[in-house]
């Protein structure tokens, strides 16, 4: 098995992520899954939009495509239809994938194109300095919600399922072991898979809301997870906490999975088992 280090473009380091940022945990889980599944990344394309999360693909020695803000799924759609034999993984953030790129997420899910979309959800725009996102919890402070956020947060997992995604999961940086397992299942799934990964922005979101350090944020996930376990996934209220505001306690793991024909199958580009009919050249 190839080592994680062999999958990195070390000459592109140092990376741009801030101390305490959760994205490195997600990237680490991704790399372990890739190292386990592939002998090398010649046949793996990583496609990303704009934002902190989207920058991580550059550090991975695959076919990497850093696109425009919100549009990663559209580039990935064209690439996958041109080369159905490639494994195409989209890395996006909550602003990138749900605000400016929300329309594309809906339609990629509806088409059930065989892509894996890993959505790094830190409920803020980190790259631009901590503005509110469609995933920012109500009442939270950001640089563009100085009086508290007046809008509710979007649940991307429910959106993706409603739009037609055939694999929907949620994971969190507090449990890298479960995150790794969910990412592995998402990549092996044939059809459109979405993983909502709860990660944290320490530099902007945590500071604006006095949520503490990276480890404090991780443990707030932990408390939410306990609530979920105790309430049998029923809890829907804002987490009452000494470190307010934090996200709703939300169900984790694989939330939805089914099988229906992919776009590539419908177009006759691959056969029903997902084998590519692609002829190079």
């Amino acid at each position: 098995m190839i080592s994680v280090k062999q999958l990195l473009r070390l000459d592109m380091m140092p990376h741009i992520l801030c101390p305490g940022c959760g994205h490195g945990i997600v990237m680490g889980a991704m790399l372990r899954v890739l190292a386990r599944r592939f002998p090398n990344l010649d046949q793996v394309a990583l496609v990303a939009g704009i934002g902190c999360s989207s920058r991580i693909i550059g550090y991975i020695d695959a076919c990497t495509l850093h696109t425009t803000h919100g549009r990663a799924l559209t580039f990935a759609t064209g690439l996958k239809l041109a080369r159905p034999d490639l494994t195409v993984i989209v890395v996006t953030g909550d602003g990138d994938g749900l605000a400016i790129g929300g329309n594309h997420l809906i339609h990629a899910a509806r088409r059930n194109i065989d892509l894996t979309c890993i959505l790094f959800n830190n409920e803020t725009y980190g790259m631009t300095g901590g503005q509110s996102a469609p995933t920012t919890v109500a009442q939270a402070f950001t640089t563009t919600t100085p009086y508290g956020n007046a809008e509710p947060a979007l649940d991307v997992a429910r959106l993706a399922e409603a739009a037609g995604a055939t694999f929907v999961a949620r994971a969190q940086t507090f449990r890298p072991d479960l995150l790794e397992d969910v990412l592995d299942q998402a990549i092996s799934h044939v059809g459109f898979s979405l993983v909502d990964v709860m990660t944290d922005c320490t530099e902007y979101f945590a500071r604006k809301n006095a949520l503490g350090t990276g480890s404090d944020l991780l443990f707030s996930h932990g408390r939410a997870e306990q609530d979920v376990a105790q309430d049998l996934l029923a809890r829907r209220t804002l987490h009452p906490t000494e470190s307010w505001p934090v996200r709703d306690a939300q169900p984790m793991g694989v939330l939805h999975r089914c099988r229906r024909p992919t776009l590539e199958e419908q177009l006759g580009l691959v056969d029903r088992q997902g084998e590519s009919n692609h002829v190079a050249g």
Binding site: Q43, G58, A62, F75, G78, A82, D85, L267, A280
Partner: protein, 385 residues
């Protein structure tokens, strides 16, 4: 091999694309370009290609760029409002050097405008629509036959130069039907993007230019693992903010498209001894050509310069064709766009008049003749026999 057929302009565009080897179309419906998508949807599966209707124009060009990196010759077509939405991806494709063809069948704007009436109002949008300084290639056919021919040329330029190419024509050319002799290009007539001659490895430099200033582009999945980004980048494709690297990159991108002016030269009709020179492109040039004959019959030595590549601006050709002119008339269906670089090139010694029309009607031969005739009479120096 040639067969003569009665074709609509948009149909000729689709046939030209297929002949050029286009195997991916991502599009979004918009008048007056939709027929291109409809023909491609019908024909692409039969040649092993893929058609997809995307959710908007940003998505359309995004899918095209993704498919291009997967190794396909790829295109989209739209009209003014959709062309506006594509501007960010056009700039991205220029900087990331991804070959593709974008057809803009121009209609009256701004706004929703007059969706099925002709205009030439996107000429400056094609040049400056995207932010930043961008090298642009845009071609303007004047007939259905030339739509077919220049669509093939567009793919060749896109592949050879690793750049997006815009094909600009108006609603009339898009929708009218003319007899076209379809000449199937031979494989040797078709350019493919340059491929690396070195094997994959850590020394591979995806953005290292060849002698034409163009870098190689292997397909994703061919064993070359590399990074493509819309950030300024070095020859490895890695992001950089180094001012020297950034300015050199922008200079190279501009330099590499400069030869298009020579590769796609303008048509020169009776300009050798012309004292009245019309400068017109697309459908307008056809009336200007008639106006030249009309004026010549009236004893006025008139000529026509018809650029087929609007961008990069063919400054040398404009200078040469207007050197002996006493009057230059720029005719276009807009409020005055391509006339600006013409004025800049011609200078102050020769008057540059504008024959402009908006509202969705073509400029007529009589309008062109009358304007030139009255200006000739008002002006000393033009020989009116």
């Amino acid at each position: 091999m040639a067969d003569r057929r009665l074709l609509q302009g948009n149909e000729a565009c689709a046939l030209g694309a297929l002949a050029a080897g286009c195997r991916f179309y991502g599009g979004y419906p918009i008048s007056p370009s939709s027929e291109i998508a409809e023909y491609m949807a019908r024909w692409l599966p039969g040649v092993g290609g893929v058609f997809i209707q995307m959710e908007d124009e940003m998505a359309s060009l995004g899918a095209v760029l993704g498919a291009a990196l997967g190794g396909k010759k790829a295109m989209t077509a739209t009209s003014g409002p959709g062309f506006s939405l594509m501007q960010e991806h056009l700039g991205y494709a220029s900087l990331a050097e991804i070959p593709c063809v974008v057809v803009d069948v121009m209609r009256v704007g701004p706004g929703t405008g007059v969706p099925t009436a002709p205009a030439q109002g996107d000429v400056m949008q094609a040049r400056w629509g995207s932010h930043g300084d961008r090298a642009v290639v845009a071609l303007a056919p004047a007939s259905v036959a030339e739509v077919y021919e220049l669509t093939i040329v567009s793919f060749n330029l896109a592949e050879r130069l690793r750049t997006p190419v815009v094909l600009l024509y108006d609603e009339v050319i898009g929708h009218m039907r003319e007899g076209v002799r379809l000449i199937e290009p031979s494989p040797s007539d078709l350019w493919q993007r340059p491929q690396p001659d070195q094997r994959p490895g850590p020394d591979f430099r995806p953005y290292q230019p060849n002698s034409e200033g163009v870098a190689v582009l292997p397909d994703f999945g061919a064993g070359y693992r590399f990074h493509v980004t819309g950030l300024m980048h070095d020859e490895r494709g890695y992001p950089t903010t180094d001012p020297v690297v950034v300015s050199r990159l922008l200079e190279r991108l501009e330099r590499k498209v400069a030869a298009v002016s020579d590769w796609v030269p303008p048509e020169r009709y009776q300009v050798e001894d012309a004292e009245v020179v019309y400068v017109a492109y697309g459908i307008t040039a056809r009336m200007a050509r008639q106006a030249v004959d009309h004026l010549r019959a009236m004893g006025v030595p008139a000529g026509l310069l018809r650029p087929r590549a609007l961008w990069p601006f063919p400054a040398a050709a404009v200078r040469a064709a207007t050197r002996q002119a006493q009057l230059v008339v720029v005719a276009e269906m807009n409020r005055g766009q391509w006339v600006y670089p013409v004025e800049h090139t011609v200078g102050h010694d020769v008057p540059v008049a504008r024959c402009l029309k908006t509202g969705g009607e073509m400029i007529t031969e009589n309008e062109l003749v009358e304007q030139a005739w009255s200006l000739c009479r008002a002006q000393q120096g033009v020989r009116v026999s």
